[in-house]
């Protein structure tokens, strides 16, 4: 009896001791294990970084892959898979010294051949990569020199190159896996990242597991393997259900809290919030300059004076962002801070004068704006995004006051994009996210009319020349000046009515520790753990 009693007592003591000791241990060293659940409205088309057209794939590749170079939390370029790199004086030869301790998820070693294989595959015509041109366009050749040195030769200086190398879609993939899997690679990708691919259940979730061999973490996180066992990306088309699932604790990190729910969730004082200004212009109205009446620059300028953007921002976006004035937002390097002064202001009188100058007059007060008996009417093409739909209706109501009849036509995003590329629209809504000012090449260079994103269908030698100069100029100060000229010129040509750039909100469960926000707009999960 006494024996049992003393046994119970000692066991109890042991339990108490453990209870006292264990928390202090976990406090010193974050707990490992568990899974982090993220959510996305959109599902990837493929997880092949080089073949994707979906933004969500890029986001997922941040966890699955590493790039040669990356950016730290302040936005400085630092080595990742490359220990160091040098650029020749003429900017044409880039030499990378690679890490030698890196392995792909399939066990094959990461080396110079892998880098060569990756870039060559991206550029190969049969890959049909929609992004290789923008990322690696001017690459002439990739040469290896031993196992850990790679030399990339460019056809001409290419200023955006360093930033492009940090793009998640420029991740280095396992050449052996690509060879073995062929087309299946996009369903089971192999990289070198902190997490490795585990499962993709269509329309349901993608699961990445902790890479236990990870030793090459970026400088802004700890070098070793992540603390959580898994990350899960759940695909849910209904955003109201996403928010409900987050509040129920089923989702760990809610990236892109709908504006409607930002205030309510913040007011609960329960969830840590991250926010940052979107890297890109969130919404702009883009004219098709080949279509009446927007082929007339006076009409485009009149629109820029006619629309009162603050209401669009306050009501359309519930004030959660900034008014946009030009093609670049303040969150992208190259933004010219004189743009606010330079851009046209809301000025109804000036708008009416410009309309009149272009021949558009109201026959009677309150009537339609007419020219040669034809009313000014057009269809605005938009995507079914809540904030866009709201903003479109505000713009519509504002234009009605001038006697302009604007109709709204909604298309699924991919369909919208292909219609805008084909030039079926008079005007459309668009928004973009990009990390560097080289977006102006994608969006305004005339070589991208029809196939690329030059949705204004504006063909102009001066703008093309400016953009080309911005890409080949490697002196940063001179480059800034070129970007300033580009921004001024695009505003002069009134190709857009820039409307707003939204602030992105990320809500985190209080049980998640150590999640960080990267300036390029994703959550760093290497150090994240569950309490």
């Amino acid at each position: 009896m006494a024996f049992w009693r003393s046994l119970v007592r000692s066991l109890l003591l042991l339990v108490v001791a453990l209870a006292l000791v264990v928390p202090s241990i976990t406090y010193a060293q974050p707990r490992t294990g568990g899974e982090l659940v993220l959510v996305s409205t959109e599902e990837p088309d493929t997880l092949d970084a080089q073949k994707t057209g979906a933004a969500v794939t890029g986001l997922l590749m941040r966890y699955l892959g590493d790039t040669l170079i990356t950016k730290d939390l302040k936005g400085n370029y630092i080595g990742a898979l490359a220990r160091s790199w040098t650029v020749s004086r003429d900017g044409l030869t880039w030499t990378f010294q690679l890490r030698t301790d890196v392995k792909f998820h399939d066990g094959t070693p990461f080396n110079a051949e892998a880098v060569k294989g990756t870039i060559e595959r991206a550029l190969a015509p049969e890959t049909k990569s929609p992004i290789a041109g923008a990322l690696f366009g001017p690459v002439a050749s990739v040469q290896t020199s031993g196992a850990s040195t790679v030399v990339i030769k460019l056809k001409q200086p290419f200023a955006p190159f360093i930033d492009n190398l940090t793009d998640p879609r420029a991740m280095i993939i396992s050449p052996q896996a690509v060879r073995e899997m062929g087309d299946r690679f996009g369903r089971a990708p192999v990289g070198t990242g902190a997490f490795k691919f585990q499962e993709w259940r269509s329309a349901d979730r993608v699961v990445f597991a902790r890479n236990p061999d990870y030793r090459w973490g970026p400088a802004y996180a700890h070098a070793g393997p992540p603390l959580v066992d898994r990350i899960v990306m759940r695909f849910m088309p209904e955003s109201a259900a996403q928010v409900a699932a987050f509040e129920r604790g089923e989702i760990s990190i809610l990236v892109g809290v709908p504006p409607t729910d930002v205030r309510r969730l913040r007011a609960m004082n329960k969830y840590p919030f991250f926010s940052f200004l979107r890297k890109g212009v969130g919404l702009f109205l883009e004219f098709n300059v080949t279509k009446e009446p927007f082929s007339d620059i006076r009409v485009r300028r009149a629109f820029n004076n006619a629309i009162e953007k603050n209401s669009v921002l306050q009501i359309g976006l519930e004030g959660l962002g900034e008014i946009a004035d030009g093609p670049l937002p303040p969150s992208i390097w190259g933004f010219w801070d004189g743009v606010k002064e330079y851009a046209p202001k809301y000025d109804p009188a000036r708008a009416k004068a410009l309309f009149a100058e272009a021949g558009w007059r109201q026959a009677r007060p309150g009537g339609a704006l007419e020219k040669d008996g034809k009313p000014l009417s057009f269809v605005l093409f938009i995507a079914p995004i809540d904030t866009w739909r709201r903003s479109a209706q505000i713009v519509q109501a504002q234009l009605r006051a001038y006697g302009i009849a604007m109709e709204i036509q909604t298309f699924e995003f991919g369909t919208l994009l292909s219609k805008l590329k084909a030039g079926e629209q008079s005007a459309g809504f668009m928004g973009y996210t990009y990390t560097s000012p080289d977006i102006v090449q994608l969006w305004f260079h005339s070589s991208n009319i029809g196939t690329g994103l030059t949705l204004s269908h504006f063909k102009d030698a001066k703008l093309d020349a400016l953009i080309e100069a911005s890409r080949t100029e490697t002196d940063q100060a001179k480059r800034l000046a070129i970007y300033r000229d580009i921004q001024k010129y695009i505003i002069d040509q009134a190709l857009w009515v820039p409307l707003w750039t939204n602030t992105n909100y990320i809500a985190v469960q209080p049980t998640v520790d150590g999640a960080k926000i990267h300036p390029d707009g994703f959550v760093v999960l290497n150090d994240a753990s569950l309490k």
């Binding site: 709908p258 409607t260 729910d261 309510r264 079914p384 739909r389 209706q393 505000i394 519509q396 109501a397």
Partner: protein, 295 residues
Amino acid sequence: MATVSEASAAGAAVSRRRTTHPVLRRLRSRPLVIVAMAMLVLFIILALAAPIIAPHDPNALISGAVMRRPSWTYPFGTDELGRDVFSRVIHGARISLQIGIITISIALVLGTLVGLTAGFYGGLVDSALMAVMEILLAFPQILLAMAILAMLGPSLRNAMIAVGLSAVPVYARTARGTTLSVRAMDYVESARAVGSGDVRILLRHVLPNMISPVVVLGTAGVGIAILIAAGLSYLGLGAQPPTPEWGAMLSESRAYLRNAWWMATFPGLAITVVVVSLNLCGDWLRDLLDPRLRK
């Protein structure tokens, strides 16, 4: 007779001496139907007189009145853009009833035409037409409507065409069935004996006698069409903003369910009330027109 259900009660009432008009008598035993009819009449009045009744322009953004709770000024509150939800629901009656009626008119006219032809001529015409209908029937209405909209492009007009076309086989089948039974009736035989032409027989004798089941089907069909149109709006294939179609209003305000309940509740209630009423009236019409009950 121990079971007292509506229908048998109605039957019992008929077997007594007729003191009042049988329609009214049957109606009195169904208070729900009276309410439903009143609701439909109310919504039809709202739809017809929308510009007079609605206190505001349904698309006007009232500055400084975003997402207001229901009050005397805004009985149903205002929406995320500062529009009067009450006025939008009233104007929405116009659009949603129009959707239902136009859609069903398309289905009813085409369906009756096909069914009438098939049933009247029989033989190869019947087999061929009904085979086509049978094939179309295999495509679920919403999928067929989505596919048609994907071809024609999303808009309210195209949605009505799509939903209307996708409902044709249902009406064709019913029309054919009743035509077949009407054709066998004595008066059709005698008309034929007198030497009346096909068209004349069809229009004068067959059509009036076979139309009632189709109308019954159509009454509930209006409600179904309103619901399918709402679903299409949810999928982004229906009415375009700022059209105050009830389904579009409901779908666009679902993001605000937690912050502004009134935005979704009123258009949602409007849909429910109208569809319920249409169904109740449809049931009642069926009982009324059912010859077995009339005996």
